[in-house]
């Protein structure tokens, strides 16, 4: 195996282990690791460390939650504040604010729209790492792809032009969605950054654009004319928003 053109940095080794590395760089790192046994041993040690942490602390997840931590009880009789850090929640609110939250499996009964977003994010994570088979129909057959997905889904599936944001259509595939068929389109930038656009039938006629993030991926989701749209990509909200606007502008013009 040959060395990658650019040497792999310490930061990249960490990012590789934590799944924070851009998909197109993973192969380089893997090649580097097979040629550098010391680095490979370090990466292995970090993985073992993570396993030891989970082995030691995951059992807490299965413990019964003590009575004093029950939400209903806390709402009725809040405990006296011990630590005197009254501002902590406010600071935390500011620091953590402005990010969507449906995708954390947090809501006990997610709405159809939330389920759709979760499915879209799952599909995104599953397919963006694919090197050889990311799509069923390549972007070079754009017209055929649009026709096929439109026929199978039952609404007009249009693959938007995202060149203005540096993204080219890789292609698309048909997926099972929570309410029936779903269309899935993948785009890629010159640097290998991947975005996916998932659409499926949504009960909500129109819903404004919202943001959510989970496990290193972010998504903007909205609905228009009874179709739910989920644009997934990196967690960078500004970048996602820029791409989502471009998608939104084009779906409006073509009527959905």
């Amino acid at each position: 195996m040959t060395d990658p053109k650019i040497p792999v940095t310490e930061d990249e080794l960490h990012a590789y282990v934590d799944n924070e590395l851009p998909a197109e760089r993973r192969g380089d790192v893997e090649a580097w690791l097979s040629a550098h046994p010391d680095d490979a041993a370090r990466v292995q040690a970090w993985r073992t460390m993570a396993e030891a942490l989970h082995a030691r602390y995951d059992s807490v997840l299965d413990e019964a939650v003590p009575k004093r931590l029950e939400i209903e009880r806390l709402v009725r009789q809040p405990r006296q504040w011990i630590y005197g850090a009254a501002a902590a929640a406010l600071i935390a609110f500011i620091a953590g604010g402005g990010v969507g939250w449906v995708a954390h499996g947090a809501a006990a009964t997610p709405t159809v729209f939330q389920r759709l977003t979760l499915e879209a994010l799952d599909a995104h994570r599953l397919y963006i790492v694919e090197v050889r088979h990311p799509v069923e129909v390549p972007g070079s057959e754009r017209a055929h792809l649009q026709q096929w997905l439109t026929r199978r889904c039952g609404w007009t599936v249009h693959a938007p032009e995202l060149d203005a944001t540096g993204l080219k259509l890789v292609g698309g595939r048909l997926l099972p969605g929570p309410t029936g068929p779903a269309s899935f389109l993948m785009y890629e930038s010159a640097s290998g950054e991947r975005f996916t656009l998932y659409t499926s039938r949504a009960k909500t006629e129109t819903a404004q654009m919202r943001y959510t993030a989970a496990e290193n991926s972010g998504a903007m989701y909205w609905s228009e004319a009874g179709v739910g749209y989920v644009l997934s990509g990196p967690v960078d909200k500004t970048r996602l928003n820029q791409v989502a606007r471009l998608v939104y502008d084009q779906t409006e013009k073509t009527g959905g």
């Binding site: 807490v60 939650v65 809040p78 630590y83 620091a95």
Partner: protein, 162 residues
């Protein structure tokens, strides 16, 4: 129950795990979780649809920082190390990792646990700690190097005793 309260409730097991590893004492850990929940519930009205999960981790991380600051002036009680030779391999490993964690400085321990145990992204941890991503990455790198050295040191010490 409101959707907000449900999403807070769904996070309790994960918060308890994080707190247990962070404080390394079950009672202190649950105190932290309880105070986190109280603060979150009081601020329900302030919450306008952000990321509940990151928000709760942020409150807990800050509370623990404050707790340690207030403890700093009091004498420290270190738990006596249990060296029961009959302990099974997994138990011994669990002790090792707990002991190694205790030697980390606070910010590094939080980064390590948020990334490796709770599976948060570098971006989320940067927001929680209010620092740039680069700082998160250097804290993580130092924490991993430290834990690795600490575990290897423990093993060498053990071999020498045998």
């Amino acid at each position: 129950m409101t959707a907000f309260r449900q999403s807070v409730e769904a996070m309790i097991p994960a918060l308890r795990r994080y707190a247990r590893a962070l404080a390394r004492d079950a009672d202190i850990a649950d105190d932290l979780v309880q105070d986190t929940l109280v603060r979150a519930l009081r601020s329900e009205k302030l919450f306008l649809g952000g990321d509940v999960r990151s928000w709760l981790y942020t409150i807990l991380t800050n509370l623990n920082k404050n707790r340690r600051r207030s403890l700093a002036r009091r004498p420290q009680f270190m738990p006596l190390l249990d060296n029961n030779p009959d302990a099974s391999g997994t138990e011994a490993e669990g002790r090792d990792i707990t002991r190694a964690l205790s030697t980390l400085v606070e910010e590094q321990r939080a980064v390590l646990l948020l990334v490796m145990l709770e599976g948060l992204s570098y971006r989320e941890v940067a927001d929680i700690q209010g620092v740039p991503i680069g700082t998160v990455m250097s804290r993580l790198a130092r924490a991993r190097a430290h834990i690795k050295a600490s575990l290897e040191g423990q093993r060498t010490a053990l071999r020498r005793v045998k």
